[in-house]
Point group: C2
Chain length 259, copies 2
């Protein structure tokens, strides 16, 4: 209940953590219970968070996430070079194949869809912006991990060993590492129904300017629509998209630095 003892910034931010898909509205009373804060303390935090716009309280309906959240996401959408440069490649891919095409950004150990296009109605496997994705499984995850420098990769494998083992990537860090080396040699990752049953994922890394990939471009397509040849063809296009987006990003960064 109380694990953020002694750090009012953390304690305040912990309030944001309780908002979830299942529970987007909390009364002060419920928050006191959940977080174990005293009444005045909680109200102080709530006041500050509301003033910052991160929370919003509508009369009679408790607290919810606030307008600042929407504004900040707007800022990100509006100026994220990855999205700005990648969107047209997603369109390309969805026009060519009956698929969903995604851009997934990596933030440390989290990966998150930031943009998606689809040419086929498939609510089941749809990944809209903002939906978190698992780092231990799926083509996207692997297409990111495989291209990380060893220094970052090994600890990450260790942190996600359980998931990685369960999908058969290897039983030891070394074995997983070897599997990922194969992905790296191929230049892309494929996964059969690892995230959504019956759906094949094909993903390639996107670079910014450094040596670690910052994102992944991915096509997901119904398994019964593709055979080995199709996958080869699609993966070539996905890799190409990854390369082109990477190039645009690194150009942009160069120019940015000059300005």
């Amino acid at each position: 209940m109380t694990e953020n003892a002694g750090n009012s910034l953390k304690r305040g931010l912990a309030i944001l953590e309780v908002f979830s898909e299942d529970r987007l509205e909390w009364t002060p009373e419920e928050l006191m219970e959940k977080l174990g804060y005293s009444r005045p303390t909680l109200y102080r935090y709530l006041k500050t968070l509301r003033e910052a716009g991160l929370l919003s309280s509508s009369a009679n309906a408790g607290f919810t996430l606030g307008p600042k959240v929407v504004e900040m996401d707007f800022l990100l959408r509006k100026s994220d070079a990855l999205i700005l440069n990648g969107q047209k490649h997603l369109k390309n891919l969805t026009e060519r194949y009956a698929c969903t095409a995604l851009l997934v950004r990596r933030y440390g150990d989290r990966i998150l869809c930031v943009a998606s296009e689809r040419s086929v109605a498939n609510p089941r496997s749809s990944y809209p912006r903002g939906r978190p994705m698992p780092l231990g499984r799926g083509a996207i995850a692997r297409s990111l991990m495989a291209f990380l420098p060893r220094r970052q990769l090994v600890p990450m494998i260790e942190r996600h060993m359980e998931d990685l083992r369960s999908i058969g990537l290897g039983n030891t860090v070394e074995e997983v590492h070897e599997s990922l080396r194969r992905v790296k040699r191929a230049g892309y990752a494929v996964a059969f129904g690892e995230v959504t049953p019956g759906v094949v994922g094909i993903a390639a890394p996107v670079y910014d300017a450094g040596r670690s990939p910052v994102a992944s471009v991915c096509v997901t397509i119904a398994g019964h629509l593709v055979n080995g040849n199709d996958i080869d063809e699609i993966s070539a296009h996905v890799r190409q998209a990854g390369r082109e987006i990477s190039e645009a990003l690194s150009l942009e960064r160069e120019n940015g630095k000059m300005a």
Copy 2:
């Protein structure tokens, strides 16, 4: 520079304020300068904010807003009853008229577009999700203020008197109040080029369950496309949309309470 003295939650959250359309990337050095925090302090805050996911630091490129922002916005989009119930009405309106249709939510003194549809390419007046709007001007603002209970309305008028006077709504609180009473009687607000030159806005309030409107539904349309009759017709539809969304929201809230 330092005005948040003595409140580490506020001081930490102040970091989020420096991110703007013009500046979405800050190095620790720049933040120290801008906020006047000492090095260890700043790093402590940054660490906490990053752990919370509100910030993200990519090697060599300073800090940016983080994945938590995107996830929280996803939560809001996904479960905002206003959006879920209102989207189809926006579609209706854009299908009928060559316009942009918006849903704008009120958060205290801030109003923010949360959803929009358009049937005409008009980047100039386009208001995508997340773009803040002025509270002192435009049909949307007025359609919200006019229906507020006096207790909330009068202080709000006072806070925005300057803007309200400049668009000719009145020179005193009482005069503005009277103008807004007329809006209330009409049931909707119209504005000619107040927000975007040459664009007419027609807006009606949306209620939740209480007596204050929580949002506004609005149609913006090129001024040269409409005459008085058109405006009468459109406003009838906008009001109707507002009423129907309100009804859906209040029903939903009733049911929610029962569950």
